[in-house]
Amino acid sequence: MSGWRLPAGGAVDRTRPLAFEFDGRAYSGFEGDTVASALLAAGVRVVARSFKLHRPRGIVGLGWDDPCALLQVLAPAPAPNVLATTLPLQDGMRLRSVNAWPSAGFDLGGVADALHALLPAGFYYKTFMAPRGAWMFYEHWIRRAAGLGRLPEAAATVPVQRRFAHAEVLVVGAGPAGTAAALALARSGQRVIWADDAAAPGGVLAGSSSAHADEDAQTRAWITAATAEIDACPNVRRLARTLVLGRLDHGFFYALERRADGLERLWKLRAPQLVLASGALERPMVFPDNDRPGVMLASAVRGYLHRHGVAAARRLVVHGASDDALACALQAQAAGIEVPAWVDTRERVPEALRERACAAGIAVIEGAGIVGVTGRHGVQAVDVAPRRGGCPQRIAADGVAMAGGWSPALHLLAQLDGRLHWSAPHQAFLPGELPPGVQVAGSAAGCADTAACQRSGEAAAQAVLQALASPMSRPSPATPPGAQGSEPLPLEGQGEQDPGSEPVYALPPRAQHRAFVDWGHDVTAGDIALAHREGYVAVEHLKRYTTLGMAVDQGKTSNVNGLRLMASLRGLTPGEVGTTRFRPPYVPLPFGTMAAEDVGDLVRPVRETPLTAWHLAHAAVMYESGANWRRPGYHPRPGETLAQAAQREARAVREAAGLYDSTPLGKFELRGPQAAELLEAVCANRVADLAPGRGRYALLLREDARVFDDGVVFRLGPEHFWLTSTAGNAAAVHGWLEQARQWHLRAAGAFVTDVGAQWATLVVCGPRAREVLQGAGCTLELDAAAFPFMAVREGAVAGVAARVFRVSFTGELSFEVNVPASRGRAVWQALWDAGQALGLQAVGSEANHILRVEKGYLSMAHEVDGIATPDDLGLAWAVKMDKPFFFGQAALRRLRAACPGTPPRPELVGLRPLDDGGPFEEGAQLLPARAGAAGSRVRGRPGPVSAQPGERPEGFVTASVHSPASGHAVALALLEGGRARMGEPVRVTAQVSGGLRLRAAEVCAPVFFDPRGERLRG
């Protein structure tokens, strides 16, 4: 047993015991404990196994700085890889260790530690290479060994809430500095958000009664009073239990609040000014076997004493290069822990401190370091030897407290545009020149004692107020406290530290491989030396080669020590080595937390039309189409397959009538004296000469002459036009129309309105379409003379005002009925009822696809691939080059001047299979014919086809269907120089298992039904 619960003390509620289970054993703790403090109190020493070597690990830190104590929560809310030091204890909690089997105490994976000499940093770059072909065998075992924890089977029941807040200032941290800043800012009346990770303000002083008991008690009382005053200010939003995770551009922050009732909130904050009072992280000491369970950070030892009333050991050796070690030793003694020795690497510790130590009966061993720790599952004894060399002495102990100095937690500063500079007196990175809008206060800025922290918090607040008051002048950043003309004040307790002393001292090579720098990834001092020997000396290389700082703790305890080691190897200062790039988030987050409420159906909301419910009620199989629309693919009758249903629906359109919902179509109304000018510029066809009530095919090109979109354009009045676009491109076309209007043409006299959602668009098509409309009560004259093809009429259908366009995307007589969206369902029902006696059927996108392929009409996803020009697609008839200007005109002119090129451009053609193999595959490659070769099989792996040397694919199939109108399979394809190759045989690839087969086809015109369009013009 090592840790134990003090009889009194700490902020835990001893009247409320909580039961929990870890690795199958039952323990108990108190309300206010974290899982780590409860495990420590119960005497559990081994809580985890390290990632690579499966070494036993215990609790090292107090909060987010602990690198090892990852647990799997089994109940109440299953989650993997939760840090035990930050997890509040709940009654009935069940936990398990990760990366250990069967348990942390006894792990079969521990054999990896015996092989540690074969597993240094970067070992995977030098292994698993032979024999070739065995990689998949290695990969199977590596995959099983990798990873930590297990994902829960079920999704979290309560999603994380997303919240937003805006303020002038964000104050991060509620220690003395943060509280002072928040108080000054609250009094000023500015809007403030004050965020702190703990449940109550106090920072490092929370629950503490240190060696400076009186001063700390005074400060705690002051913090409590200040918090009460701040809470009464309406302009302050205090976020407790909220960890600010990242700082992004323009004063944007995101933070995670974990409430006491278990609810989590992801806050998105906007504040142009930041006061960063985030404190400092303690550094461990680097010595052989410093990862044994029982070796802890000194601040953690103190924190467990004061916050949770838990003593981490019975006999504690303190090891440090600073005076923090003594403070820890004295407080431990006061709580009843034996402290046999204080091992300090400095040659001379300050006299005053030595006297206090001796008075307390603590042996002071100067100029020495720890050279070994015995006890694999928990410290049993410590070997101490002088740095200059000499016999080690063994001291029996069951805990070691490391006090390696403090590193300011400047992540939020450095994540964006902050600079850090190395301060030799502090042996730490301090803020450099501050970017606009950021102030740093407290121990994050290098302040020593509490009073200095409070003063720096007030100074930061004043600098912020000054910046807010004078918006036009660039504010001078507040000079970091301590740099106001005098030497920076050293960190708490460091006193007159000898700048030349190296807390990370030189180790003999063998010992280096057991001296851990990064607990999370088992990175040792030897690994850093290895990286140096192999040339990975730049800090970013060091990080990636050794994986230092890449573990779950993101290097909070390891980065600076690793840099200092590399600096001493290279003969530079750590400032010259530099730090790696800081990136948010400050701690790892589950993806579900970032997604907040956008889970389940909200991940990708689908758009539905007024007819979606009708389709679902009629057994439609719904497809996800472009732009998040959900549209019916086909409406199978009982026992029908997709192919049968699609063929039936297509036949109905050709023989009787079909009804389909075209509401997702992009629809725009353009008005104004410059509307015609705008349309003339964006369309390759003419627009201005349209008579009222008439329309034509509209072709939109990009500036490089590739087809961008197509639709129809109608003139509704003298300064009123209607333009449609494809459903998937509606947003892009809208943006392009506005960009052309506002930027390119500066057409202030044109107005574009996206009316896509305003109109339900119902299409009645087929030879009996007129009868259907008349049966549904259409007030318009529908005969060909009164209502010709490509005309628009306004009237009523089923009593609802409607705009009816005679356009066809199927090649049949077709009326596109536009009614207000709220009436769409009713009008659809009227058309449906009127059509039942006439053989009307509902048509889905599969049948539409068949119909348009039969007619050779283009589809944005198939033939129009972003590379094809109008000439390629046979649309030269729609392009009027004699217009003064349209987008794409200049590029098309150049392309035409360059034709024919080598190889010739791909052109739209039709294909007819010469065998009975049914439709081709979309994307099948086209090869030129070779006498006697049709039907041959190409061996080898599927891939780029090259049947003969010198042969290459000359095109591909864009769409292929079984055509009900002609009774066989048809296809559309893009083939180089296709229009000059009518009647030519080609070979078409087909995927079969083990390779490709070649089928024979004949090139023909890209239309298979009603080539002269008589049916749609009738």
């Binding site: 944007f252 036009m472 002048s473 660039r474 500036e703 947003a731 506005e738």
Partner: protein, 125 residues
Amino acid sequence: MLLIPCPWCGPRAETEFSCAGEARARVADGEGLDEQAWADRLYGRDNLRGEAAELWWHVHGCQQWLLVRRDTLTQSVHSAVPVLAAAADAGSGLVEGGTATTAARESGAGQADPWTDGPSPGAPR
């Protein structure tokens, strides 16, 4: 998360906008250019380090297209001017096929930068 200071709607998050990249004039004429020069005119971008002029569309707001001057290094947004208004003041003055960056630099000073200089006057809270 950039804040674009839309002159109509105030400073809004970049997610309300659609960015069309560098501001360029339309391509109207390709006479006499060789292939490389033509490809540059169609597809080339200056991709400046430092201050650049970009076109942003406030699609989820007022639907104005804005000429935004943004520093690509520091991300500070200096100004956002509706392109229709910009034309009225500065004259289009855009080189055929060129970018608007030169024109933007030469046109007058933009609005105050709210993120170094405080909230822009009149911006709604």
